[in-house]
């Protein structure tokens, strides 16, 4: 009797423990389910697009069989290849310009006074924070009014005939608009790396007889390279898939891929569109992997533990 009297409260505690564990298990399960749902919501649509790119049926939503025909059709479609080409040219030119300007700005801002730097910081953040639609509208208004002023003058200078030189919307305006916000992005990336860089490396280089230019070439630039590569890749993809700004400043003959796809979707999703989207996805993921590989290689070379894009921004 006395034994059971002692055992009972212990059993009670045991039951309470089991109940608490069950409760924990239940909450655990809830979190797991929620996480799974979030990921499903994020990635299932992409999976659907990729899967239906291989659908034999003309109607994109009914699965009838596997085929790779749509890829061939898409690649033989002159409109698709033209817009793909446009996008590539624009994204590449933009990436080169934005990386150059952004890096130069980051290096320059290191040498100016605190006041000036803070002023530029505000402008940089504004160009990233301001909604894209506002930048798009502002850019459109700017170009339109500039052309209104400049074109009559140009017409006067070149005779005003049929072959007269005239500014208008097209690849040039798209590139200009993209470079604008991508420069800020590169600037932030490179500056983060620059401020995380060991300053004594520069002093050590000077101490070992290297002139300022040689110090930049042999020490500073290699140290910044991961951030510059990351900036290049990011501005390439940001430009490649930009719709809002591009749609405002685009002109005849300069349709980019996002604009083409959006136009297609208005007439219903076709497997051909899915195939194009899948190719773009593959290309983007490929770029990302190459970027990661370059950074990891650079990271190994520069001794930092882990060279990922996130690290470049946060590493100090």
């Amino acid at each position: 009797m006395s034994a059971s009297g002692v055992a009972r409260p212990r059993a009670g505690r045991g039951r309470a423990l089991i109940a608490a564990e069950r409760m924990n298990g239940f909450i655990d399960g809830l979190f797991r389910t929620q996480a799974a749902l979030v990921y499903a919501f994020l990635y299932l649509p992409i999976v659907v697009v990729v899967v239906f790119a291989f659908n034999a049926n003309r109607l994109a939503t009914i699965w009838t069989g596997f085929t790779t025909d749509w890829f061939g059709i898409a690649l033989n479609d002159a409109v698709v290849t033209k817009s793909l080409g446009n996008s590539a040219i624009i994204a590449f030119t933009n990436a080169i310009l934005a990386t150059t300007f952004g890096t130069m700005a980051a290096l320059g801002l290191q040498r100016v006074g605190k006041r000036t730097r803070q002023g530029y910081d505000v402008l940089t953040y504004i160009s990233i924070i301001v909604p894209e639609i506002v930048i798009a509208l502002a850019t459109l208004v700017f170009f339109a009014s500039t052309f209104d002023v400049v074109n009559p003058v140009l017409a006067g200078l070149t005779g005003g005939g049929k072959g007269a030189f005239k500014l208008g919307f097209g690849q040039f305006t798209i590139i200009a608009a993209h470079v604008l916000f991508n420069t800020s992005l590169v600037l932030l990336l490179v500056r983060a790396r620059l401020s995380g860089m060991d300053r004594t490396l520069v002093e050590a280089s000077q101490d070992l007889f290297a002139t300022p230019w040689r110090t930049f070439r042999q020490i500073t630039f290699p140290q910044l390279l991961p951030a510059i590569v990351a900036g290049f890749l990011l501005s390439f993809t940001f430009s490649f898939d930009d719709y809002v700004i591009t749609s405002f400043v685009t002109g005849p003959g300069s349709t980019t891929l996002p604009i083409y796809i959006f136009g297609q979707v208005k007439r219903g999703v076709s497997p051909e569109t899915n195939a194009v989207a899948t190719m773009v996805l593959a290309f983007t993921v490929g770029m990302l992997l190459i970027g990661q590989a370059v950074l990891a290689w650079q990271g190994r070379r520069s001794g930092s533990r882990n060279g990922s894009m996130a690290n470049i921004v946060t590493e100090r």
Partner: protein
């Protein structure tokens, strides 16, 4: 004449390059063997309202190991950076090899630095790090490889050419940094607390190694440290600094045995201080008799040769803890031998420190005294007893250092 000897040929070999450099110097006619390598003349450096270095005057002789010793903020690193060229003096002039170097950028000074955290270039392997300075000076590739190999052998890292610097241990990185500087045969090698990041045992090893290396290559070393033991171990000359001013300079023995002011006596090792007033001065032996505030009469040596003291002046008597002896009070009649001071007191605290024990003894006439006792016969040499036990402390008058100020 020896004028055909080019400086390059003279510096071709690293070991013994000091002698060779002297030949090179003689040919240039700018400086000779008696010219100090570095001469700092009335240099002041201000950062805004802060004066980091205050009217400093220092002459660093050729081939010697100099240490700038002082607490953080004493101006020792700023001095080093002015010699390297990273800072320009606000006032005064620095001469390197007899030539003024104001306005000459770091990359045109024949001075190299070993940085506190080594500052090895992470994107280069060991050989490319060490050969960096040579490449900037357009030394031929074959010559570069040869000299890099030589320098690495000198720091006992032969065969490490292709290693990544960040894969190496702290001590090895330290050696790479040393080789990278030495390979250029600088007039002066500057070292900014280079052993600070190493653990104690490795640090002690590297201290001896550095000193041996310096003797071997014969290059002038200027070593910045806040660690007095480090300075005592390696230096030919220690320069003690405080608040941008030189407090005292001299060889380690001189500085430890004969500190000329209270700061030096306290910073280098530790000391007991007794405030006193001068009663009489013997100018010929530079000794003085003083009376402490509590009436204890002591005789001691006036350490500062420049000090002019007279009866009535306030002074401080410093004694080193290891010069004091302590024994249990056996009740014998107090009566000191001539020249000895004997005081009764009570232990306030005794600390066993392995090789020695340290006792804080409170005396009536001299306040609290720290006494260090070597544990020569194991635990048997411990004084025994505990706080409050009566003891007798005694010391000879040769231990008394009379400091002005």
């Amino acid at each position: 004449m020896t004028t055909s000897l080019t400086p390059d040929a003279a510096t071709a070999s690293l070991a013994g390059s000091a002698g060779a450099r002297a030949v090179a110097r003689a040919t240039t006619g700018v400086a000779d063997e008696t010219t100090p390598d570095v001469e700092i003349v009335d240099v002041t450096k201000r950062f805004g309202a802060v004066t980091a270095v205050d009217r400093m005057r220092l002459s660093i002789s050729r081939g010697e190991f100099y240490s700038l010793l002082g607490p953080s903020g004493c101006g020792k690193t700023t001095t080093l950076r002015m010699i390297a060229g990273f800072e320009q003096p606000t006032e005064g002039e620095i001469f390197l090899d007899g030539k003024p170097i104001a306005g000459i950028p770091p990359y045109r000074r024949n001075v190299n630095t070993v940085f506190q955290h080594y500052a090895l270039f992470p994107h280069m392997d060991v050989a490319r790090n060490v050969g960096y300075g040579l490449r900037q000076r357009k030394v031929a590739k074959v010559e570069e490889a040869r000299r890099v190999g030589e320098a690495l052998a000198l720091v006992r890292l032969a065969g490490y050419e292709r290693r990544r610097t960040w894969e190496m241990s702290g001590g090895q990185q330290q050696r790479v940094a040393l080789a990278r500087a030495l390979v250029n045969h600088p007039t002066v090698l500057l070292l900014d607390e280079p052993l600070g990041a190493l653990d104690l045992k490795l640090r002690k090893e590297m201290q001896l190694e550095l000193k041996a290396l310096q003797r071997e290559v014969g290059i002038t070393f200027v070593y910045v440290t806040h660690d007095q033991e480090e300075a005592l171990t390696m230096s030919d000359v220690i320069v003690v600094m405080r608040d941008g001013r030189i407090q005292q300079q001299g060889d380690p023995t001189e500085l430890y045995e004969c500190p000329t002011n209270r700061f030096v006596a306290d910073f280098l090792g530790s000391s007991n201080f007794i405030a006193a007033t001068v009663e009489g001065v013997d100018a010929s032996s530079r000794t003085a008799t003083v009376r402490s505030d509590r009436g204890l009469v002591l005789r001691g040596t006036v350490t500062d040769p420049a000090a002019a003291i007279a009866a009535g002046d306030a002074v401080t008597v410093a004694t080193r803890p290891e010069r004091l002896e302590v024994r249990p009070d056996d009740g014998a009649a107090p009566g000191a031998a001539p020249g000895w001071t004997e005081l009764a007191g009570r232990i306030r605290q005794g600390t066993y420190l392995g090789d020695h024990s340290e006792y804080r003894v409170v005396t009536d006439l001299a306040g609290e005294l720290i006494v260090r006792r070597q544990n020569t016969v194991g635990a048997g040499s411990a004084l025994g007893g505990g706080p409050g036990d009566p003891v007798v402390v005694r010391w000879h008058e040769t231990a008394n250092l009379i400091l002005v100020g």
